[in-house]
């Protein structure tokens, strides 16, 4: 079919004037920028607002709820482990519940839940952070303006986060980053050992849930693949590098040249193809026969597509427009799971639930998708490092970005949906410990002996 012919001619098909490297760097940059921006904002908030001398009421009540050891924010390892374990169990249960709801096709439930949690985070946590900032900076804003601006901003950002088709892409991405920043800042208020235990526990949970056959996230992924549906979830999607992947272009092109093949491809797809052309040889023949509008049909799509699964709603509308050729950039992408967080403190249980996602992959337009949960936990790690010193912040930031790069490489190698947390969190924790024990000693000694500053 024409699709197979286009596929076979891959090396020579790069648009004139740009190479794979140009768009490859751009793709990765467009996912590293928002992650870095999120971390930077959390570090700023933590530096401005944290007062490490006084234990926060949050930690005191956690200690009280878990049969706390000593009064005041004294946290120790058993309490931390218990809290982390409780949290992971709660998240697992919630994910299974979500999988059940998805199985029963209660999509309005899921959407309403997403909307409620996004709005709650922006309104409650956002209001709290704004009030803390106003108090700390002594900025004399009056109550009337505040009462007018806060619900407005929260509503607009929640709308932007949930309905990406109705707002500029930049605003949608900014809203997702805002939700991540607020949640991450809230998490950094936990006591120290609890935070670290939580991070490690979530990394292990992510690894297990996505890769083990019985894991909740994997179940959800397979369900979505089977049904060719999109899981309603909060996922950050980088802007596609090539605007020809946009829905408008496709529709316009449909009108002028029906059945034409698109020669533009996403960069990760090209990497995958270059890496695995031998693997593709066998399965390419079988998939070429499925050139109908089953652009969500995972099992028949080319293997290079399997990096991510997520159906965007725009794809389904294009499918209904009767698109004939199996465009290479259509891929089945399963949106990552939404993992609600339930607060560990019993008296506030059920009040707040935040949607976050785990996992990394490719979207139907070829751009990289990263779950919001990954944003949140990366920022929590860096925020907690900021509470110690800026040296640890730099080390952890570099470690996390390196971990993200490694995860993207693994994505290109393995061509499966992968958890994005484990590698980065492992590197981040290792580098935090190393910096605090070894590097700090070294730098302090050098400075006091005037060797280097």
């Amino acid at each position: 079919m024409a699709d197979a012919a286009a596929a076979a001619a891959v090396p020579g098909d790069a648009p004139a004037g740009t190479t794979v490297l140009d768009s490859l760097g751009e793709d990765i940059t467009r996912i590293v920028y928002p992650v870095s921006a999120c971390m930077l904002l959390v570090v700023l908030l933590v530096s401005l607002l944290s007062s490490p001398s006084s234990p926060s009421p949050l930690s005191a009540s956690i200690a009280a709820a878990t049969g706390g050891v000593s009064g005041g924010g004294d946290d120790d390892i058993p309490t931390a482990l218990i809290t982390a374990l409780t949290f992971v169990v709660a998240v697992t249960a919630a994910t299974f519940l979500l999988a059940l709801l998805f199985y029963l096709r209660c999509t309005p439930c899921l959407r309403a839940y997403l909307g409620f949690s996004a709005l709650a985070v922006l309104l409650v946590l956002g209001g709290q952070v704004a009030l803390l900032l106003l108090s700390r900076l002594r900025f004399p804003l009056d109550a009337v303006s505040f009462a007018l601006l806060l619900p407005n901003a929260a509503g607009a950002l929640a709308l932007a986060a949930l309905a990406p088709a109705s707002v500029p892409i930049a605003l949608h991405q900014a809203a997702l980053v805002a939700v991540a920043v607020l949640t991450a800042f809230w998490f950094t208020l936990l006591p120290e050992w609890t935070t670290w235990a939580l991070l490690v526990a979530m990394a292990i949970y992510d690894l297990a849930a996505v890769l083990l056959p019985g894991g909740p996230l994997r179940v959800l992924l397979e369900l979505a693949i089977q049904r060719n549906e999109e899981i309603p979830a909060l996922v950050y999607e980088a802007r596609p590098v090539d605007p020809r992947h946009g829905r408008n272009w496709r529709l316009w092109r449909e009108g002028t040249q029906p059945g034409a093949d698109l020669d533009a491809r996403s960069t990760v797809e090209v990497i995958g193809e270059v890496l695995g052309r031998n693997l593709d040889a066998n399965s390419g023949n079988s998939s070429s026969s499925h050139d109908n509008e089953a652009d969500g049909d995972v099992s028949n799509s080319r293997p290079r597509v399997t990096l991510v699964a997520a159906f965007s709603s725009s794809d389904s509308t294009v499918a209904q427009a009767g698109e004939v050729s199996a465009l290479p950039e259509h891929r089945v992408a399963v949106a990552e799971m939404s993992v609600p967080l339930i607060q560990p403190r019993p008296q506030r249980s059920g009040e707040e639930a935040v949607e976050d996602e785990d996992g990394i992959g490719l979207s139907s337009s070829g751009a990289i998708k990263l779950g919001l949960g990954d944003f949140i936990f990366y920022s929590v790690l860096v925020g907690r490092a900021a509470m110690y010193d800026y040296m640890t912040v730099y080390a952890c930031y570099l470690a996390i970005i390196a971990g993200l790069g490694i995860t993207l490489l693994l994505l290109a190698f393995f061509r499966k949906a992968l958890p994005a947390l484990p590698v980065s969190i492992a590197l981040g924790v290792v580098f935090y410990v190393l910096t605090r024990t070894l590097l700090e000693e070294f730098v302090v000694q050098c400075s006091t002996n005037l060797l280097m500053f």
Partner: protein, 155 residues
């Protein structure tokens, strides 16, 4: 429309040379390259944004909902349809004509709202206690927050 390659006689070479496909009628297209897209994208996202047929309903919905004390929806409307706003009324493409009134009215509404709000906030900040008297302390947000105790749980 010219469909043959310039300088090549059609009858002799028709079977030998690759020909630009007949579907590509624009003069700039050749071979597998796609022709340049139309320059009339209504949204600021260009080819990734809303298609034209959805744009009018969207603009109207945001304009009407903005009246429910949500002026930021007007701002989003203006930002999203920035190309529509920027093109002057005379030279804008006909496709923009149904969208334009809503976007312009949203811009006016948001301008009025922001002017009123900024004036009030600036008066409050600059005037301080001299202008308002003891009421100022009751209206300042950080005092209100302390009084209501809502900054409590975050420490």
């Amino acid at each position: 429309m010219e469909t043959r390659v310039a300088g090549v006689p059609e009858d002799e070479e028709s079977g030998l040379l690759p020909r630009p496909s007949a579907a590509g009628r624009r003069p700039s297209s050749r071979g597998p390259r796609l022709p340049h897209p139309p320059a009339t994208w209504a949204t600021v996202d260009g080819p990734l944004g809303l298609p034209l047929e959805d744009a009018e309903g969207h603009a109207r919905r945001f304009f009407l909902w903005g009246f429910a004390c949500l002026p930021f929806l007007w701002a989003i409307n203006c930002c999203y349809f920035w190309p529509v706003l920027r093109s002057s009324a005379a030279s804008s493409p006909s496709a923009f004509a149904p969208i334009r009134p809503y976007v312009v009215r949203s811009a006016i509404g948001f301008t009025i709202f922001s002017v009123v709000l900024i004036t009030w906030a600036t008066t409050f900040i600059v005037g301080g206690e001299q202008l308002f008297g003891p009421v100022w302390n009751d209206l300042v947000m950080y005092n209100v927050a302390d009084k209501l105790g809502i900054t409590g749980f975050m420490g």
